[in-house]
Symmetry: C2
Subunit: 311 residues, 2 copies
């Protein structure tokens, strides 16, 4: 089993109340891949420019990520994003985006990437997502993320692409924007009518809420005393979620499996925001992940204790 | 065992995208009392004016609520609140507040109210809350709610009052405002240094997050397809939470009990918002409450399934 992810491979400049970094390895595919790499082999699909060197490749390879489909575009520049976060870290402001080699990216997947049974279409142009999805003929579970930019500029294409996946994962504000429904239950019903049977609303510091054929599942975010850099949290959530699914090839894709996958996604996201960029992921251990999932269990499980209600 | 609540007894005028009501029985003490009445005897403490008639008393008494300490102020007018909710129901706008008899309210508790072992200080002026707390000498668990108005106009008094309770329950925005900490973990640590060992952040549509001596506990809100009127949700949450605790007088006030109390609070709040004012609470049944708590369990519990993590 393996996981294929297409998405941005980027350099990020990030400023938060806790400090700033001028140039860090980032992008949705990178954050996803590092998180998912704890569970299974990950193939990264995406373009980079001349500025993407052996150091950056080494980061991915150190976690066993397959970079065969990281396409080097000679003369090009890697996608660049500059953003800043305010006091409460929930408001992100994009200061600069340079598409670079992403402007004309046409995904060409290797045999191994095409054969993955779990596929994540990270947040890029929906036509590109669809072309990746079409090449992955062996996929048993495909999930997609997107953002306000595509909802505003490519809504029809996005909805068409959503029609071909099993799971839509969006921030809850984007889910409202896409469906024009303020209510998750109704927004999810609309999405499910388009195709995906699973819808996950990412709620940032509040956690995540999922609906499947069997009903709802919700988990809070893991409470942290310090969130240093929220960038990539959603992609690490997706990486833990999809990685966990990939690691259970013999299990039916049912609510129970997806619920536990949510816990691993939540754990991975919580580690990622503890430090800038991918710093925390590079020294994360399996033991830490297992311990945090156990803590999430403890902080969400409650006993059944008899209570005699009055009338 | 019984529960005493002090708080507003009000007439509310509410407008939401689903309709409006010009004059409904409401107020923090009323919403709390109806929710808690499913668990134990509730004593309501608060003033009303000449406009508060037998019909309003009957609503409380129909659910077995003790109205001995509902003080009729001759010539006075009952507290009145007018508000409206926007499209996503998370933004509440207060259009009008008339304090009426609340302007000069001096709580005088009957023997029965003073003897309650569980006490809820609903959202009113913090000096008044403190005077009620001081009269309840038998209390084993006291919780307090407040709002931005008191944080802005009576912060020192509020902090003094918080120092005398076991549990602070606030909306998360108010918790940030009160502590000047954007982060729940640090905000809760600050509160706990003031006195209360339990802090509950009410997160509206996202649920609630608690900290006790034993750690965190979190529950999502129950997902509803239609929220008709969010007014009183926080007080019904408190009513279910405190009522559940009152119904278990022999149990130690530990994390495990409080966690299950959160589930009952969440269930009661979810029913209340399904209709305007107290309409839903008046035909709610014990069976419906038990079923919703069971559903909350199903949508938050996940199995431990082995996963072999890579390195």
């Amino acid at each position: 089993m393996s996981v294929t992810v297409v998405g941005s491979i980027a350099f990020d400049a990030v400023s938060t109340p806790f400090g700033s970094r001028e140039r860090m390895l980032g992008g949705s595919a990178v954050h996803f891949a590092l998180a998912a790499s704890f569970f299974d082999l990950v193939h990264v699909v995406g373009p980079v420019g001349d500025d993407f060197g052996p150091e950056e490749h080494a980061v991915l390879r150190a976690r066993g990520v397959d970079t065969t489909d990281v396409e080097h575009v000679p003369g090009g520049t890697t996608f660049f994003w500059r953003g800043e976060y305010g006091w409460d870290l929930n408001e992100r402001r994009t200061l600069e985006t340079r598409l670079g080699v992403f402007a004309e990216f046409e995904p060409k997947l290797s045999e191994a990437s095409r054969a993955a049974e779990v596929v994540f279409l990270g947040n890029i142009q929906p036509d590109v997502q669809r072309r990746v999805r079409e090449q992955c003929t062996e996929a048993r579970f495909v999930a997609l993320d997107s953002m306000n930019l595509w909802i505003e500029t490519a809504r029809d294409s996005l909805i068409e692409t959503i029609g071909g996946v099993d799971c839509l994962m969006l921030n809850d504000a984007e889910l409202r924007q896409l469906t024009r429904e303020p209510n998750f239950v109704r927004a999810a019903a609309r999405i499910r009518a388009w195709g995906p049977s699973v819808v996950v609303a990412k709620q940032g510091q509040y956690g995540a809420l999922m609906i499947t054929d069997e009903g709802f599942f919700a988990l809070p975010a893991y409470p942290l005393e310090t969130v240093v850099d929220p960038t990539g949290a959603g992609d690490c959530f997706a990486g833990g979620f999809m990685g966990f699914i990939a690691a259970h090839p013999a299990e039916p894709l049912e609510h129970e499996l997806l619920a536990q996958a949510m816990a691993y996604g939540t754990a991975l996201a919580s580690f990622n925001v503890e430090e800038f960029g991918v710093e925390r992921m590079l020294r994360l251990t399996s033991e830490e992940i297992a311990e945090r999932v156990a803590e999430l269990r403890r902080m969400t499980q409650f006993l059944e204790r008899p209570v005699e209600l009055r009338r």
